[in-house]
Point group: C2
Chain length 367, copies 2
């Protein structure tokens, strides 16, 4: 069992990572401070619930908790105010009070939605995350909770820290392989921004990670969470440093928007974006080898690094504009300096980004 | 001009009270930390907007701000997730970003709704309150923001502090007399719980308060805000002490619920509730004079202290049950000890409350 402490003063909390953790979930809820006999609202989605919800509920009830469940449809569309209100209705009807807590059993969608419910039900009650995807290692650190507005993603939300994150590696066994790879993109991102050694370790252990070998996976999630926790500990409310976590995301978000959400999974899109960032780096004078090293790491994890031909450069740039990321033809961009180090560079010219997106379409390598 | 500092560490903020303040609103926004040229979303309702919105907008624009407005229908029904989403849509369409702020121009309804928008738009942006009711002196301290769920009031919300409160006494001139009295009920409540001298001062200056004489009104709002600020400073997230602010509210809320929201205004209902609390106090051995003194203060402010005959005791008790306030036939109740001091008493018997509600119907005095 691995344990990381996310240090945020009185909002600090532990992330527990290991196999078989759900067997001891009631004890962990006690440690999280949820009083026995209080009501716990477990939110899950209709892909995850059939696999793990009954087991979880049984363990919680054995431990003396009252359990209420709410199952949402799987997928990003559930991160809406409509579904949010439905979960609120369940909570009110079940009589949840200030001593109750919300448990999120699922990936980032369930975590973000359930977290926003916890943040705003009676102005905030306990929250515990049980991530069942690799990508959710990212959302389990940092306290960002949100739903989408029809006009913009993650627009409505809060910063709200869980009391604990319980990462049971066993639940990852059923994750579709594409989601495994997508999640690993965020894992290696944490290496690329701050931990050179870890980035190389990921490349070396790619096969074990892709096959969900528990020892490797546990270590990778621990490092990924720990790196993010360091960044968030310095900048809880995203005033500055935290921006480095957006490596690959400016281009990645634009790819997701143009492709339509779901064409590329998030991790796939940011993988292409991280390849793009390395191209930007080369144009700004960083070592030429950076791009090739970056790409070798991403492809080791079977992640895409080029943009399919049907994507138009104009559309991608326009999506970035729409995202309000350009100011007077310039953009703030997270640029790698070397493997394991990045800079926040202000005033990168639109023309540079435009060229890079073009290169991503021509199978990447500009050399 | 009067100024109170609400002391909450890094979330501290000033309340500015005086006449003619809206003329200097742009400077105050600057002091609140909103960068010139950023966008300000002013939320108001359709009773208040025709009176003060154009003037406010002009001053803000003169000061270099971009102004976006959203007008909601006046009344409690606007504190809904539906209206909340509409305000969010306005904010997104207007391109509000992290440097933008939300200004609430109106009473508690506008303040609670706009505050919840500010708390959750892009996970929290600046917030400034411009209260235009007396009751809103209460909501301008403490950071409680919320909307209602169809099944329960104020169920969805957050603790979110404004950057500043600008209380322009001139705006109170147009407030309907019933809302003046209702607001004064919360003012004197602050005296009744913690400041004996202030409570007597309110009785003595009742005529000036009812006629909105600026010197008396300014002082009363300053003391009301300051007392609440002291309580909230000790207990920002309502873990204990803050409960004393609920003097009169247990019975008051039940009266509101049974009568249908709107039959009694909030302040009227808690006035009856405060009279009821003094009756409870007498049953628990507090001095008999307490009830008469309390009633004399409330009636000086032309507030009701008895329950109309058509209210059934059973209905009132049932509403409290529904409110989950009873546990095994007992309830935690805020009981006055003397004018200016209260206790949080656990385990008050249902039978005591039942008797008291009956007495409130018989014109109050049990002697
Ligand atoms: N809060 C943050 O800081 C943060 C960070 C990154 C991403 N996110 C959010 O996370 C979301 C994406 O997260 P995600 O990739 O986990 O998506 P997801 O929650 O939609 O999960 C992906 C798919 O896998 C299924 N699934 C999940 N766990 C499974 C399991 N163990 N076995 C079988 N199927 C399983 C789900 O039902 C879903 O269909 C996005 O909404 C994104 O905005 C938030
Ligand atoms: N957040 C808190 O701590 C807190 C505390 C107390 C009450 N509240 C909330 O406040 C709300 C009640 O506040 P309220 O009494 O101010 O109600 P309100 O906002 O509905 O205002 C009362 C009425 O007066 C009108 N009005 C307001 N200012 C006016 C003016 N200057 N001239 C003419 N008309 C004016 C409004 O349009 C409305 O019709 C409730 O929703 C309650 O839950 C919140
Ligand atoms: Zn991401
Ligand atoms: Zn009140």
């Amino acid at each position: 069992m691995r344990r990381i402490q996310v240090s945020l003063g009185e909002r600090s909390y532990p992330i527990v990572i290991g196999s078989g953790l759900l067997d001891g979930i009631a004890e962990l809820c006690g440690e999280a401070g949820f009083p026995v006999r209080s009501s716990l609202l477990v939110v899950s989605d209709n892909s995850v619930a059939p696999l793990y919800l009954d087991g979880l509920t049984a363990k919680l009830e054995e431990g003396g908790y009252k359990v209420v469940t709410h199952i949402i449809p799987a997928g990003e569309a559930s991160k809406s105010l409509t579904v949010y209100e439905e979960v609120m209705t369940t909570a009110i009807k079940a009589g949840l009070d200030r001593h109750s807590a919300v448990l999120a059993l699922g990936g980032g969608v369930v975590g973000d939605l359930a977290g926003f419910v916890a943040a705003t039900y009676m102005r905030g009650i306990g929250f515990l995350q049980i991530p069942t995807t690799i990508l959710a290692h990212d959302s389990s650190v940092g306290g960002k909770v949100a739903v989408n507005h029809p006009l913009a993603k993650n627009m409505i939300g809060a910063f709200y820290q869980p009391k604990m994150v319980v990462y049971d590696l066993d639940t990852l066994a059923t994750l579709p392989p594409r989601d495994v790879r997508s999640g690993l993109a965020e894992v290696i991102k944490h290496g690329l921004i701050l931990d050179r050694e870890f980035a190389y370790w990921c490349r070396e252990h790619a096969a074990e990670l892709l096959s969900l070998q528990p020892e490797a996976l546990g270590y990778a999630l621990e490092r990924g969470c720990a790196i993010k926790a360091d960044v968030v500990g310095e900048d809880e409310r995203e005033h500055g440093l935290r921006a480095i976590l957006n490596l690959g995301h400016t281009i990645g978000h634009a790819i997701e928007a143009v492709g339509g959400y779901g064409t590329f999974l998030h991790g796939e899109a940011i993988s292409i974006g991280m390849a793009g960032s390395a191209l930007v780096a080369a144009k700004l004078g960083r070592p030429q080898s950076l791009y090739e090293e970056t790409v070798s790491m991403l492809t080791a994890l079977e992640l895409p690094v080029t943009l399919p031909a049907q994507y138009s450069v104009d559309d991608i740039i326009e999506a970035m504009m729409h995202d309000k990321k350009f100011k007077e033809g310039r953009i703030t961009f997270i640029v790698p300096d070397e493997i394991g180090a990045v800079s926040i560079v202000e005033g990168v010219e639109e023309s540079v980004i435009r060229e890079v997106v073009g290169q991503l379409k021509k199978e990447g390598s500009p050399w």
